[in-house]
Subunit: 205 residues, 2 copies
């Protein structure tokens, strides 16, 4: 039947998850990928120092500024940015390979990165995770305890700007309860996979 | 916080479920409404004869042709159609009242009705339930046993045309397993409620 053969031809979807530091993105993504092991999480390149528990190639590809700028010069990043003084970038090749194979990819990037990705991949699905309240976000950042006071003030300032920009996203989830936020994100993935507009033609890239 | 007050101002969403007779829409809708008791199911008017187990005002408002055409003349239907020789119509007033209150409404209508509704309410979310295969659809129609052979042939012909038209819908679910189809429909409802575009302004109607 035609509908079945079309369903098999679904294009890969590029999902984007953003939200202020400390909102719970990392845990959310871990749990989302447990439900959807067929989604490929993009691993960013960064020039910032590795934190104690981070695994190279898993959390980030840790590179030198020289390595980063060389890849950037070759057009190797789908988006890149200078955040809190360090360079971060989403490598293009693995993401585009994933989508070409008809599989979904997931990026965890900030508001500016999302704007750049949406320009390059207009079909990308952007999801903003918002904190339930300001005091709660401040508490979560303090509990993490990895940042100095000045960095924390900067993160809070960025968070305010990001939340204002969240109205440009496709979806927004207020993370009052992580279990519910995971369910909501799962629902977005499931629903987007059923969109008729994604069945019509294979992504030509 | 601004994002919370905006979340409360979400507009009511108009969901549409379509699919060929016998595909399992009625059971699906019953189970969907059990998970989402806050969705108001629109009850259509019809001039066709009541079937044994149907409850007036619940399954349909059973009306005479005279009553139907009088309401239609006053612009009282959001859409109406002549299907298999009987008149069917979606009364406008209750649907628009539901949406104005910021609550979601659900219509079970056919392909032509969906086209008319989408013209009048462009934000409506249309979901097409497709049969897993032709032999399966024929089996289901035969099992129901309420139709004569001629009506069944007509229903099958309509089903073919409807499935071709399913590519105009926002979402399409192939109903291979009812439990999974219910989950998929639930995911669509949950995801659509998180769309930022629905938070911006209150529906002005």
């Amino acid at each position: 039947m035609a509908s079945d053969s079309l369903a098999r031809k679904r294009r890969g979807i590029l999902f984007i998850i953003s939200g202020p530091s400390g909102v719970g993105k990392t845990t959310l993504i871990k749990r989302l990928l447990r439900s959807y092991p067929d989604i490929t999480l993009s691993v960013s390149h960064t020039t910032r120092a590795r934190r104690p528990r981070e695994v190279p190639g898993n959390d980030y590809h840790f590179v030198t500024v020289k390595q980063f700028t060389a890849l950037r010069a070759r057009g190797g990043f789908a988006e890149w940015a200078n955040v809190h003084g360090a360079l971060y970038g989403t490598p293009r090749a693995p993401v585009e390979r994933t989508l070409r194979r008809g599989r979904d990819a997931l990026l965890e990037i900030d508001v500016q990165g999302t704007r750049k990705i949406k320009r390059r991949y207009p079909d990308a699905v952007s999801i903003f995770i918002a904190p339930p309240s300001w005091p709660e976000l401040r508490r979560r950042l303090a509990r993490r305890g990895t940042d100095g006071r000045k960095t924390m003030a900067k993160r809070l300032e960025n968070a305010r700007r990001e939340i204002r920009e969240s109205m440009r996203y496709d979806y927004r989830i207020v993370n009052s309860d992580l279990g519910r936020t995971v369910d909501s994100t799962r629902a977005i993935v499931a629903a987007e996979r059923l969109r008729v507009s994604r069945l019509r033609t294979r992504r030509s890239k």
